[in-house]
């Protein structure tokens, strides 16, 4: 079957690609567009490593087809920093040592950004439940939760 022609926006840039029906958005990002910042940990929507935003909604890109990106605005880890300036979440993850191996980090950052856009002053419990769809095996989440709360504080104070 012929491939589908998809027109989308990724991190603000207009992007076109061709994909097979069964290709996930994650496959397209990683294998066609060479945007490998978005990670694959399970391909079943259980680990959150492939988190992206679609029209500002947090989504596991392994659970969405590439064709469904047509006409949508996609946000990935590659779009978090602006120019030389890291997003406050990125900066706080570094300062708090909120990553060890770092493979879950892009997913956590994308998910955390989506949280703070909805709720600029989350409680620890709200952070923990929002991030419950993102698995980290290295940190025990302590420093991740602290980094997110600290970033929220900084964004509110800015």
């Amino acid at each position: 079957m012929a491939k589908h022609h998809v027109q989308t926006t990724i991190n603000g840039d207009p992007i076109e690609f061709l994909c097979d029906t069964e290709e996930t958005l994650l496959d397209v990002l990683r294998n066609q567009l060479n945007m490998t910042g978005t990670k694959e940990g399970c391909s079943t929507g259980d680990c959150g490593a492939c988190s992206v935003t679609v029209d500002n909604r947090l989504v596991c890109s392994c659970l969405m087809l590439g064709v469904e990106a047509n006409g949508k605005k996609i946000g990935t880890i590659e779009g978090l920093a602006s120019g030389d300036k890291l997003h406050p979440l990125q900066q706080k993850f570094l300062e708090h040592a909120a990553l060890q191996c770092g493979v879950c980090t892009p997913g956590f950052l994308v998910a955390s950004k989506a949280l703070l856009e909805k709720n600029s002053n989350p409680t620890e419990t709200e952070v923990r439940y929002w991030l419950a769809g993102n698995l980290c095996r290295c940190t025990g989440y302590d420093k991740i939760v602290r980094a997110v709360m600290d970033a929220a504080h900084e964004i509110r104070s800015a």
């Binding site: 990683r30 294998n31 060479n34 945007m35 490998t36 910042g37 978005t38 990670k39 694959e40 940990g41 399970c42 391909s43 079943t44 259980d46 680990c47 490593a49 990935t76 880890i77 590659e78 978090l80 920093a81 890291l86 990125q90 993850f93 570094l94 300062e95 708090h96 040592a97 990553l99 060890q100 191996c101 770092g102 493979v103 879950c104 980090t105 892009p106 950052l109 620890e124 419990t125 952070v127 923990r128 439940y129 991030l131 419950a132 769809g133 993102n134 698995l135 980290c136 095996r137 290295c138 940190t139 025990g140 989440y141 302590d142 420093k143 991740i144 939760v145 602290r146």
Partner: protein
């Protein structure tokens, strides 16, 4: 815990003990860092693995002709394509190595031994073609009866995985084969005599389920082999020199033919210390002359890699009324999976190691059954045996009406203690950890309803091993540091800090990388909590090498004998050693770098060593648990991990190790297990059903870093990564006992099991009334 961000923990140091941002950090928060599956090469094929649909079967015939004939299929391999291997077991890192077993694990030979056992591999132009090709490989099987449980596998009449397996370590050797690969005995003193003088003896049996390392990044590699046989391998691994050696041996190639580059690694925890896909990718690439990329699915990761052993154990400990343990005995039966090599050895050695005991007897069995072959998992074997011992120690303390910390302190291992497994300990931090626990605010905080508090001790050896580091002084005085142990959790930061401390060069002037196998001498892997210890030791040596060379160069320039020039460690410069040496302006490394050309050429510090003296790390953890009496669900409400780090180079990453180990231990204690059906097939091969702790399962995880410096490391470093996974199992079990009044003896303490135990206790209480 950011309070110490600016000031070092010890006044001896200016950089060590601070908390700078890691040098590889920005790449990892921007998506720029390249992990195992992030590399793509031009002309690359997709590799895929055919796995056994049976739990135990004889392989009668494999016919790959139809698969090879499919358009787009470029190569197919089976075990026959590999070099023949010898069935011989040698010591290797924290475990053992048997190349014949490793080959059998990579691809099955005349038998498949577990559901998901690889049997063939293909390389094709894309994943869809590869998948079709796998279906075209015809395998004739003769299905055999299987055995999953460790006690059943040891029973007479159990289905045998290997008809010629005679138990090692038993004299005289058994005359009949069994599933018991090996027996291990450790004896100190005379336990029978010890039990005779005991006032209280407690004996309990325990079971633990196998658990997976659970790294978030599945195994992944890209191999490319040129027409002249030169191979490059990009791989997510804990040790690329190990991958090179294993692949060379399995393929029968010279080591120099394979260059291995370690990708950024998305977690390993011991599970990425062996090979699964790598030899297949190399062979497929050699056959197709195209790059081959292989990435494992999550299901295959859980079904066919790792995990660590499940176990069945009995522990018996005797103590006198004044709280002195007089004898400890343990019987440990560990599942090895389908091929021998469980971590029962270290399990036996560690079991009683936190204590100074006169009489110890430990017997271990390494038992095969139709499960995936186990791989190392963070302090391999130790969490299992120490869980059983610490649960009995806790019950003994309660029986003697002693405080559990005081009881442990009374029997604590200290400098000079002879461990049951042989050595005498040097300076160790077990007593310091227990004292810190006792003094902590956590220990004194009142508990709420349905809550209990447990403590447990933990011990792990830590290892050293072969290490090479190079440190290049660049033309402008900046430095390039190359180490060979993959950075899984902040290693680059720690190494950079040690070089900076030694040379008084700012951190941002040192660029650190993990070199490939062609760039350095041999490096053993990142494991055994050795990377900061060993590569740190080599980094300090390489930095001292630079200092010596700087002195030589200045001496040459100043036309002085070398002994008339010295390194001033205060300013980080070379200067005349005294007034007799004449007046010369001290030279910094920037000055030295500028004159390198005319004083002898490039300046490179180098260290290659076999790091000895990795000192053990001891820990004490406190867990508060709340148990819901209606559902049996246990929640961790507070947790404190106290552990001796020797010296915390970067305290945030030391805390991170403690917290990560605790989280894995909590999963092991409460949730995680391999669940098998009677058909011998794993029922929960995915992150939905194999449930590791998520953020909402855990509280903040408090840490206390104890520093009893390791005298053999220039900065006092001990390994810290492994000990921290040991105490949670028993600390939580002991807390559950306090919360519910019921002693638990099986992991995981999942809600159905806890509820059943609570219901049973409630029924017994009602019957009494």
């Amino acid at each position: 815990m950011q309070d110490k961000a600016k000031s070092p923990m010890s006044s001896e140091f200016s950089v060590v003990g601070t908390r700078p941002v890691r040098p590889d950090g920005v790449d990892k928060v921007t998506g720029r860092a390249r992990f195992g599956a992030d590399l793509n090469l031009s002309g690359q094929l997709t590799g895929a693995v055919l796995r056994s649909p049976h739990v135990h079967a004889r392989v009668l015939k494999i016919d790959v002709s139809q698969a090879l004939a499919l358009e787009g299929v470029k190569a197919v391999v089976t075990q026959k394509d590999f070099a023949p291997q010898v069935n011989s077991t040698t010591a290797f890192g924290e475990g053992t190595l048997n190349l014949m077993h490793m080959l059998t694990n990579v691809l099955a030979g005349d038998k498949v031994l577990f559901h998901g056992h690889p049997i063939a591999a293909v390389a094709a132009t894309n994943a869809a073609v590869a998948k079709r090709a796998l279906k075209l490989i015809k395998v004739d099987y003769e299905v055999l009866p299987h055995v999953i449980d460790v006690d059943e596998a040891m029973a007479l009449g159990a289905p045998l995985l290997f008809p010629d397996m005679i138990t090692e370590g038993v004299k005289p050797a058994p005359t009949t084969p069994s599933n018991i690969a090996k027996r291990i005995d450790i004896v100190l003193g005379d336990v029978e005599a010890g039990f005779k003088v005991a006032d209280v003896i407690i004996e309990r049996s325990f079971k633990t389920a196998p658990v997976h390392q659970g790294y978030i990044e599945p195994h992944a590699c890209v191999a490319t082999v040129s027409e002249d046989g030169q191979a490059e391998l990009w791989v997510s691994t804990q040790g690329h020199w190990i991958v090179r050696m294993l692949c060379a041996k399995l393929l029968g190639w010279d080591i120099n033919k394979i260059k291995v580059t370690a990708a950024e690694i998305g977690g390993g925890f011991g599970g990425k210390t062996v090979v699964y896909l790598e030899p297949l990718a190399l062979l497929l690439s050699q056959k197709s002359r195209r790059p081959v990329k292989m990435v494992m699915s999550r299901e295959d990761v859980i079904r066919a890699t790792g995990p660590t052993s499940g176990s069945s154990m009995t522990v018996k400990i005797g103590a006198t009324n004044d709280g002195r343990i007089v004898a400890g005995e343990a019987l440990l039966k560990y599942q090895a999976g389908a091929l021998p090599g469980s971590p029962v050895g270290p399990g036996c050695m560690c079991a009683f190691a936190p204590y100074d005991l006169p009489n110890v007897k430990v017997t271990g069995y390494d038992v095969v059954s139709n499960r995936p072959k186990v791989a190392a998992y963070r302090a391999p074997g130790a969490p299992i045996s120490e869980y059983a011992v610490e649960a009995v120690v806790d019950e003994l303390a309660a029986t003697l009406k002693m405080d559990p910390i005081e009881f442990r302190l009374k029997n604590v291992a200290k400098q000079g203690t002879k461990a049951a497994y042989g050595p005498k300990f040097g300076p160790v931090g077990m007593a310091e950890s227990l004292e810190a626990a006792k003094a902590s605010a956590h220990w004194r905080t009142p508990l709420g309803k349905n809550q209990g508090r447990g403590v447990a001790a933990g011990f792990w050896f830590n290892i050293g091993g072969e290490t090479t580091v190079s440190l290049v002084l660049n033309e402008d005085g900046t430095l390039g540091l190359t180490a060979g142990t993959p950075d899984i959790g902040g290693l680059r930061a720690s190494l950079c800090m040690m070089a900076s401390e030694e040379l008084k060069v700012p951190l941002e002037k040192i660029r650190v990388q993990i070199g490939d196998t062609n760039q350095l001498g041999y490096n053993f892997l990142t494991g055994g909590s050795r990377s900061t210890f060993s590569s740190g030791m080599a980094t300090v040596e390489a930095a001292r090498d630079i200092k010596k060379e700087a002195v030589r160069r200045a001496a040459k320039l100043w036309e002085l004998p070398e002994e008339a020039v010295e390194w001033d460690s205060g300013s980080g410069s070379v200067r005349p050693a005294g007034p007799n040496a004449g007046k010369h302006t001290p030279m910094t490394l920037v000055d030295i770098a500028r004159i390198a050309g005319k004083t002898g050429g490039p300046i490179v510090g180098y260290s290659r060593l076999n790091a000895h003296g990795a000192a053990p790390s001891f820990a004490c953890h406190i867990a508060d648990v709340e148990v819901d009496p209606e559902t049996g669900k246990a929640s961790i409400v507070r947790y404190t991990a106290i552990q001796d780090a020797g010296r915390a180079i970067h305290p945030s990453y030391v805390e991170g190790q403690y917290q990560g180990g605790v989280a894995q231990g909590i999963g092991w204690a409460l949730n995680e297990e391999y669940i098998y059906g009677t058909d011998g097939k794993l029922q929960n091969a995915g992150f939905l059903d194999y449930r590791i702790p998520v953020a909402s399962d855990l509280p903040m995880l408090d840490t206390i870093i104890i520093e009893v410096p390791n005298p053999t490391h220039p900065y006092g470093v001990r390994g810290v990564g492994e000990t921290c996974i040991i105490p949670p199992l028993a600390a939580i079990s002991n807390a559950m006992s306090m919360a519910t009044g019921v002693r638990f003896a099986e992991l995981p303490m999942s809600p159905p099991k806890v509820l059943a135990a609570l219901d049973k206790a409630r029924a017994a209480n009602t019957a009494k009334m």
